[in-house]
């Protein structure tokens, strides 16, 4: 892993002193990586998030669950500022800090932020390029061109995404020629090629069949030791199987956030209980 200051995406590198040490040491009490504090978010005049407070721990899998339209995807897309691409959206109150740096400050370089906070989308979206070029795209953007180095990273990323054995003989064929599940794993490989710290997954399995879903879930288990993963899912079994912590959202509010086991076996909020037991949603 290259050594760079964790707050490299902020030009003002305040508050970075505490992080590298805790990243290296085995976490006894999990370190808070993403701190969401009293966030309100609007699409035009519609409020999508209402006073969200949430802390995501490093190197854990955190699941966001909730019925459609509850704001879980919106929150996820706030974390790498993908919502900036939609006109008329704004974070009207509150802060989101990663490594203690407020990512909505003016001096934050969004490009650097997105490099550190990768994303996998609901529908697999490989570029209409070869498998190899899909992986190297992010690297070339950031000015890494040595062929040998690229080859190495392509292999490592594809192995990391458990795809290497299936595609190693056809790296230079189109990424669109893969099956749905393979495409999604290619997208994961593409995301980890740039070595992010956080990987955001927006319903990564909703378009996949059960076998492909199982593969992606296994992959998530493999990745948890190295990356902080936040996953939005509609599938409660998936949240139960994959995640360490679960947050339940309803109508733009965070209803409950606890260890996954507690959410599914012993929820404190009656709404949560109703949802996880399948009585509404």
């Amino acid at each position: 892993m290259t050594t760079r200051p964790p707050s490299a995406f902020a030009r003002s590198s305040a508050l970075s002193a505490n992080s590298p040490a805790s990243r290296l040491s085995p976490a006894v009490t999990p370190e808070v990586l993403v701190a969401i504090d009293h966030v309100d978010f609007f699409y035009g005049a519609t409020q999508a998030l209402n006073d969200i407070c949430l802390q995501v721990e490093a190197k854990r899998v955190t699941a966001f669950i909730g019925p459609s339209g509850c704001g879980k995807s919106t929150l996820l897309r706030c974390l790498n500022r993908m919502n900036d691409l939609i006109e008329g959206t704004r974070l009207s109150r509150g802060t989101i800090k990663i490594h203690g740096v407020d990512i909505y400050q003016r001096d934050v370089d969004v490009i650097e932020l997105r490099k550190r906070v990768g994303m996998v989308f609901q529908k697999s979206n490989p570029f209409p390029k070869s498998i190899y070029e899909n992986i190297t795209y992010g690297l070339l953007l950031h000015g890494r061109h040595e062929k040998k180095h690229l080859d190495e990273i392509v292999e490592r990323s594809l192995r990391g995404a458990a795809l290497w054995d299936e595609v190693k003989d056809r790296l230079h064929t189109s990424g669109l020629g893969l099956s749905g599940g393979q495409q999604q794993r290619l997208c994961i490989a593409r995301a980890i090629a740039v070595e992010p710290e956080v990987i955001l997954m927006d319903e990564p399995c909703s378009a996949l069949d059960p076998v492909a879903t199982a593969k992606v879930e296994e992959l998530i288990q493999d990745l948890r030791s190295r990356y902080t993963i936040i996953i939005v899912t509609h599938n409660m079994q998936q949240a139960a199987r994959c995640s360490d912590r679960t947050a339940f959202f309803y109508l733009g509010k965070l209803v409950e956030y606890a260890d996954t086991r507690d959410i599914f076996t012993n929820p404190t909020n009656p709404q949560t209980e109703a949802y996880v037991s399948g009585r509404f949603g």
Partner: protein, 534 residues
């Protein structure tokens, strides 16, 4: 005993219905027939147009062959050997007058001599030029005689053909007596050409004198008033020596000439496709060569594309990828509004404003470094091309914008999520993904431009000649004529069924095939593009 179930239909199960019929057709059938009929009409019209174009066009090749054959039989080809010789001599004379002009301007402008003084200084040169010009007089006299003879023979033949046609028409309506009264004298080419060929020894004698005069003249050139023009005089001497050295070849060609030599069938086609002259209603010989028109059309279209593609594609990328919603709402209708101008209005604008403005611009001294600047022709390739670019922009813009729009949003998001800037996303993901769509947009723009008539007719200058490519880029400020322009200009005044009329049809046919090919390629690219995006 159990009763067998009734074979009669149960009246409660009423699934049969009597439909309203009109002329034996239900309403559904009528609607079907109506739409099917419309589609059928479109197909039939297309087939008719194509058939008509081909039927009128194909006849051209028969008539053109006849035309070329007559050119040989009537001895026009024979006489043209001498005509070319005389034309070359005239070109040399022009070279001399150009040389005089240069000396003249140096004397008056640089050395500030008076007019009378200058003319005196140039007197020896003028004498030389006059002698040079006069040396061809015997040749020209001979040429004039031969031209008259050949023309007379051709006229005689044409008159005979007309008489034959007249008799055929009379016979067709049954007027036998009148038909018999039409006097037809068959033209005996061998006999009629005799005086023409008999002139050969006279010509050879004249040619020898001519060659000797030129050789003598060239050995004692006038003293130039400026030394710096000496190289030009040397060039002139070399040209003249080459010219004289070509005489024996001309004589050999004339001696070997035979009016009976058949004109190959394919000559009718090649003289059209590779013909460098489009010459109609000439007293001497008509030529129908499409090359000047084709070159004109292509040059104008290329200039138009060269200007329109960056503008239109750039605007499409901006509107689709970068502009805010409010900018989009303003820019898109503006660009699409350009296509609302009737092209005749644009042409008028081109004559009245743009041509004048471009010429004025070209005459600015700080722009003199540009190739072709300054130019004096107001109507030229550049003027027409600029206006055609305006016509192509809405087409290319709209289609390219569609192509960009068809790139799934997911590609853009994925690219941004990997930390790409807006520019990187546009250049590395969006444009490559929509490239085939953009290319086909450009091709359809080309199709639009190449078929455009009014603007080029008004603004291209309408000089029927292949522009001088030796000037490099400066060729773009020369006037040309185009395929569309020539049809619009000449179709109104040709005799129906004549070779000229049919030649215009063939030009139309070429235009049709060209557009067809462009559209076919564009469609093919679009089809491939749809598959690749999935």
């Amino acid at each position: 005993m159990i009763e067998s179930p009734s074979a009669l239909p149960n009246p409660n199960f009423a699934v049969q219905k009597r439909r309203l019929r009109f002329l034996g057709l239900t309403i559904d059938d009528t609607i079907r027939a109506f739409f099917g009929g419309n589609a059928f009409v479109a197909v039939v019209v297309l087939a008719l147009i194509t058939f008509f174009l081909f039927r009128e066009g194909i006849g051209f090749f028969v008539q053109n062959r006849f035309n070329v054959e007559l050119y040989r039989q009537a001895g026009l080809e024979y006489v043209d050997h001498i005509r070319r010789q005389a034309d070359d001599h005239a070109a040399l004379s022009r070279y001399l007058s150009d040389l005089r002009l240069r000396q003249f301007s140096i004397l008056t402008e640089r050395e500030k001599r008076s007019l009378a003084d200058t003319n005196t200084a140039l007197a020896p040169f003028d004498t030389f030029a006059e002698q040079f010009s006069a040396s061809a007089d015997p040749l020209r006299a001979l040429l004039s005689d031969l031209t008259e003879q050949a023309t007379a023979l051709k006229t005689k033949f044409v008159v005979t053909e007309d008489r034959k046609e007249e008799r055929r028409q009379l016979l067709a309506v049954g007027k036998l007596a009148e038909a018999a009264a039409v006097e037809i004298v068959a033209v005996d080419f061998a006999r009629e050409l005799q005086p023409l060929i008999a002139m050969l020894p006279t010509y050879q004698t004249a040619n020898r004198d001519f060659a000797r005069t030129l050789a003598e003249l060239i050995e004692r050139p006038p003293a130039l008033v400026q030394v710096e023009l000496a190289s030009r005089l040397a060039t002139f001497q070399r040209f003249t020596r080459d010219y004289v050295a070509g005489f024996p070849a001309i004589e050999r060609a004339m001696a070997a000439w035979d009016y009976r030599q058949p004109v190959p069938v394919w000559h009718a086609l090649t003289s059209f496709i590779f013909g460098r002259q489009w010459l109609t209603a000439s007293f001497w010989q008509d030529w129908y060569g499409i090359l000047p028109l084709l070159v004109g059309s292509l040059l104008v279209s290329l200039v138009a594309l060269f200007l329109a593609v960056p503008l239109a594609v750039g605007a499409a990328i901006y509107v689709n990828q970068i502009a805010s919603l409010r900018e989009q709402r303003f820019i898109k209708p503006c660009i699409e509004f350009i296509s609302a101008f009737p092209s005749v209005v644009l042409g008028f604008f081109g004559i009245a404003v743009l041509g004048q403005a471009l010429r004025t611009l070209s005459q600015q001294s700080w722009l003199a470094w540009l190739p072709g600047f300054p130019f004096s022709e107001r109507l030229n390739i550049l003027t027409a091309g600029s206006l055609l670019a305006l016509i192509a922009v809405p087409t290319i813009f709209t289609l390219a914008e569609d192509a960009l729009n068809n790139v799934p949003r997911a590609f853009k998001e994925a690219s941004f999520a990997l930390g790409a800037s807006r520019l990187q996303t546009v250049l590395k993901i969006i444009v490559p993904a929509s490239l085939s769509g953009i290319i086909s947009a450009v091709l359809l723009g080309l199709g639009r431009v190449i078929g455009e008539t009014m603007v080029v007719l008004l603004c291209a200058g309408n000089r029927i000649a292949i522009p001088d490519f030796t000037q490099g880029v400066a060729v773009l400020v020369e006037p040309v004529h185009t395929m569309t322009g020539i049809i619009a200009q000449e179709m109104g005044e040709v005799v129906r069924g004549s070779v000229h009329y049919r030649a215009l049809f063939v030009v139309g046919l070429v235009l049709f095939l060209l557009s067809l090919a462009i559209n076919y390629v564009a469609q093919g690219i679009v089809r491939r593009y749809r598959i690749s995006i999935g």
